[in-house]
C-alpha cells in the first residue's frame, strides 16, 4: 500500500526528529514523521502511583530488553560492557532522559588538532552557538549565566535549586579551588510557556508527569502538530528505498498500526532514530547500488560507537542530604578535569556530575543503571538507616574516543516483532578510558572528603555502570572526506544526496557531556543549512 508522497519524511519523533521538523516548518514543505511508538497518555506516568518505583524495573525501565513493549526492538549487547538504553515513542529518549543539559565545549570540536586523537568536526562551537540558544529558548532551559568554563551565554530561565546536596558539594569544590557550576537543565525553574515548573519529584526517568522536563513530547511536538506536521505513530520503518536510476532515496517501507507493510514516498528522507536505531536502518537497507547498507560506501555506518562510560563515588555525610528531592541527575557539574593535561596519563577528560541520590528501592537494588543489590541482613538495615539518607555522590562521566571496533551491526538471528534484525553491539573500554575513570574516582574521593564526607563507600573500580548506554554517538559520523565519514558538514549523506541524518550518530567525537543539547542544536543547524541551500539541495 502506498500513501501520498511528502516533501520531507522524518523517521523518529525523538529529540532530533522534533527539532529538525521545527526548523523546516517555515519552508511550508509537507512534513511527515514516522514513529514506531506512540504518544504517552496522561495515565501512563507511574509517578502518580504509590508504588512508582516498581515501574523502573518493568514497563518504564530505560532498557528496552527489560521493557519489551510492542514498540521496542531488542538490542543484543552481550558483546559490550555497556548496554544502550532508550525510549521508543513520541518524544523518543527525552521521555525518560534526565534533562541534564551541558553544551559541548569549543575544544570538543577540535580533538585531532589540539590533542592528536579522534577527528576534528567540520563545524565548531561558534557555528552551533546560535542554535544552542534557539533550542534552549524552545526547550525552556534553566541555569546560571557566566560559567567561566564556556564562552559567555545565559540560559533563558534561572537555575533550579541545587539543594543541600549541591551546596555541600559546591563548598567542597571551593575548598579545593576546583571549577564547579550549577547544572544547565532542560527543566523549568519557573512556570513557562504554559508549562508547569519542576516540583522536585526526583523521578525524571519515569517521564515527567508535571510537564516540567523538556521532553519533545512537551516542547516541540505540540507546536508541530498544531502547525500541521503529520506525526504517524505505531509506524515502524523497516527499510529506506532507493531509486536505482538516480541513486536518490525515494521513500521507505514501514509497518503500520494496521499490521500491514506500507510504502511512503518522499522527496527527502531524514533519519532521527538515535545512534543505534539509525545505523540499524541503514545497514538493513541494502540494494544493488548499496550492497553493504545505504550511505555506507565509507564502510563507517555503525562504526565508532561512543557512549560516555561512567562510574560513581558516594560519600556519607553527618546530616541527611535529601538527595531524592529534586531532578535526579542535575545539581552541579565540575569541569575541572575536562580539558587534556598530559601529566594525568590520559588524553581528553571528564566531568564530575553531582547526581542526586535515588529512591530507596533503586538504592537497595544497586543504583540507577546498576544491578548489584546491597547486602541483606543486619548490614542491610545498617545501610538503609545510617548510610542511605546521608549520601551524596559524584558521577565520573568520561569522554569516549572513536574506535572503529566499537560498533553496531545487525544480529544474524535476533529480530524485533516485525522481523527486522536487531542491532548487535560490540564495545569495549579503552585503556585511555580506564585511566580516566581511575583518575576521576580519586578526584571524586578528594572532593567528597573536602565537602565533609565522614567516609567514602568502597567502589569496584573495574566496573562501569552497565545499563548506562544513555548516550549513543558516532555511528554515522560527519566529515568533509567521504572516505572517512558518512555525512557531510550539514548532515547530508555523501552517497545519497537527499538523505540526511540528524541524531547523535553524526557526532565525530563525544565530548564528556550529555549530548542532547548538542544533538538538537545540530538538528537546527542542519535545518538551517537545508533552508539556505534549498534551491540546489540535491546537486
Amino acid at each position: 500500500m502506498a500513501s501520498d508522497p511528502v516533501d520531507v519524511l522524518i523517521v523518529g519523533a525523538g529529540a532530533s526528529g522534533a527539532a529538525i521538523a521545527w526548523s523546516l516548518l517555515e519552508t511550508r514543505m509537507r512534513i511527515l514523521c514516522l514513529e514506531q511508538g506512540d504518544h504517552l497518555q496522561d495515565s501512563d506516568f507511574p509517578s502518580r502511583r504509590d508504588d512508582y518505583e516498581l515501574a523502573r524495573y518493568a514497563e518504564f525501565s530505560c532498557d528496552p530488553n527489560v521493557r519489551k513493549l510492542k514498540q521496542d526492538y531488542p538490542i543484543n549487547s552481550e558483546g559490550s560492557c555497556i548496554t544502550p538504553v532508550n525510549w521508543n515513542g513520541v518524544g523518543g529518549s527525552t521521555i525518560n532522559f534526565l534533562g541534564h543539559w551541558p553544551r559541548m565545549k569549543p575544544s570538543d570540536f577540535r580533538t585531532r588538532s589540539l590533542d592528536g586523537v579522534g577527528e576534528d568536526w567540520p563545524l565548531d562551537y561558534h557555528d552551533l552557538a546560535p542554535f544552542y540558544d534557539m533550542n534552549d529558548a524552545n526547550t525552556g532551559v534553566s541555569g546560571l549565566g557566566g560559567n567561566p568554563a564556556y564562552p559567555d551565554y545565559t540560559p533563558p530561565l534561572p537555575p533550579i535549586p541545587i539543594g543541600k546536596l549541591g551546596q555541600t558539594l559546591a563548598m567542597g569544590f571551593n575548598r579545593l579551588g576546583w571549577h564547579w557550576w550549577p547544572s544547565d537543565v532542560a527543566i523549568l525553574s519557573l512556570d513557562h510557556d504554559g508549562r508547569q515548573r519542576c516540583v522536585n519529584a526526583g523521578t525524571c526517568d519515569l517521564g515527567c508527569a508535571a510537564g516540567a522536563k523538556g521532553g519533545t513530547n512537551f516542547t516541540y511536538w505540540p507546536v508541530l502538530e498544531n502547525a500541521g506536521v503529520e506525526l504517524r505513530t505505531n509506524a515502524r520503518v523497516r527499510e529506506i528505498l532507493v531509486d536505482r536510476n538516480t541513486g536518490l532515496a525515494k521513500g521507505v517501507l514501514y509497518h503500520g498500526s494496521d499490521g500491514q507493510v506500507h510504502e511512503q514516498r518522499a522527496e527527502m528522507v531524514v533519519m532521527a532514530c538515535n545512534g543505534v536505531g539509525t545505523p540499524r536502518m541503514l545497514l538493513h537497507s541494502t540494494s544493488r547500488l548499496f550492497p553493504d547498507g545505504l550511505a555506507n560506501r565509507s564502510g563507517l555506518v555503525g562504526k565508532n560507537l561512543m557512549f560516555h562510560p561512567l562510574t560513581g563515588i558516594s560519600g556519607v555525610f553527618d546530616e541527611p542530604m535529601k538527595g531524592h528531592e529534586g531532578p535526579m541527575a542535575c545539581s552541579i557539574l565540575s569541569q575541572e578535569f575536562y580539558e587534556s593535561d598530559p601529566s594525568r596519563g590520559f588524553v581528553r577528560g571528564y566531568g564530575l556530575h553531582s547526581g542526586r541520590s535515588t529512591t530507596p528501592m533503586t538504592y537497595a537494588l544497586g543504583g540507577f543503571g546498576i544491578d548489584d543489590p546491597i547486602p541483606w541482613g543486619a548490614e542491610h538495615r545498617e545501610i538503609m538507616d545510617n548510610v542511605y539518607p546521608y549520601l551524596a555522590g559524584l558521577t565520573v562521566v568520561t569522554e569516549d574516543l572513536p574506535e572503529e571496533h566499537n560498533s553496531v551491526t545487525l544480529d544474524p538471528e535476533l529480530t524485533d516483532g516485525d522481523g527486522i534484525p536487531a542491532p548487535r553491539i560490540s564495545y569495549r573500554l579503552s585503556e585511555n578510558t580506564r585511566a580516566m575513570l581511575k583518575h576521576g574516582e580519586d578526584r571524586a574521593n578528594e572532593a567528597l572528603l573536602a565537602a565533609g564526607a565522614r567516609r567514602i563507600l568502597p567502589n569496584d573500580s573495574d566496573k562501569v555502570w552497565r545499563r548506562a548506554g544513555w548516550h549513543q554517538m558516532g555511528t554515522c559520523r560527519m566529515g568533509n572526506d567521504p572516505k572517512n565519514s558518512v555525512v557531510d558538514g550539514w548532515g547530508r549523506s555523501h552517497d545519497v544526496k537527499n538523505l540526511f541524518i540528524v541524531d547523535g550518530s553524526i557526532f565525530v567525537t563525544s565530548g564528556a557531556v550529555n549530548p542532547t543539547a548538542t544533538i538538537q542544536a545540530l538538528a537546527l543547524y542542519i535545518g538551517d543549512r537545508i533552508k539556505t541551500n534549498i534551491g540546489n539541495l540535491f546537486d
Binding site: P106, H126, A364, H380, D385
Partner: protein, 159 residues
C-alpha cells in the same frame, strides 16, 4: 492476593526468610520484610512469572530441609547453594518492601506518590548563589577555544 497457593507452613517459612533478608528495627519502629507482608507481593510476582515461581518453590523446599531453623547462617547456606534463585528472591524482596509507601517514609523519603506534589526545595537566593560561585568566577575563563586568534589557546587558563 491469593496468587500463589501457599500453605500456612510455607508462608510462615517464607516470612522468616524475609525477616532475615530485611530485618526490622525495634528502636526505630521499622518492621522486617516478613512482618510487612512482602510474602503476598512475592506470591503475586510468582503467579505472573513462572521463572520466579520455580525459583521460589525450590528455595522454600530447600529451606524447609534446614534442620536448625531460619537464622542468618541458614540463609547464607541457602545463598551459597542456590545463588541464582537466591538472587531473584533478594531482588523481588527489595522491590516488594520498598514499593510500600510506609517503608519509604521510614528511611526518610515521602510516602506520597511524587506527582503531583513532589517536594518543597527552597530556591537559593541570587545573592547566596553569587557568593557560592564567586571563587569560580574569580579564576576567569577556563576553557580552550581553538577558533580564537593566537593559536587557539585564547580562552584557556590552566587550573
Amino acid at each position: 492476593m491469593a496468587d500463589f497457593p501457599m500453605p500456612p507452613k510455607e508462608r510462615h517459612l517464607l516470612a522468616s526468610i524475609l525477616d532475615q533478608l530485611i530485618p526490622g528495627s525495634c528502636e526505630r519502629n521499622i518492621p522486617g520484610a516478613g512482618e510487612t507482608g512482602v510474602a503476598d507481593y512475592l506470591a503475586h510476582v510468582a503467579a505472573r512469572r513462572s521463572r520466579f515461581d520455580t525459583a521460589l518453590r525450590r528455595l522454600l523446599a530447600r529451606a524447609s530441609e534446614l534442620a536448625d531453623g531460619i537464622d542468618s547462617d541458614a540463609i547464607r547456606r541457602l545463598e551459597q547453594s542456590m545463588p541464582m534463585e537466591f538472587a531473584e528472591l533478594l531482588t523481588e524482596t527489595y522491590k516488594g518492601y520498598y514499593s510500600r509507601p510506609d517503608m519509604r517514609a521510614k528511611v526518610g523519603v515521602g510516602a506520597h506518590p511524587v506527582h503531583p506534589s513532589g517536594y518543597e526545595v527552597a530556591q537559593e537566593s541570587a545573592e547566596f548563589m553569587d557568593s557560592l560561585v564567586e571563587p569560580v568566577r574569580a579564576r576567569g575563563p577556563f576553557y580552550r577555544d581553538p577558533s580564537k586568534a593566537g593559536g587557539g589557546r585564547d580562552g584557556e587558563r590552566s587550573g
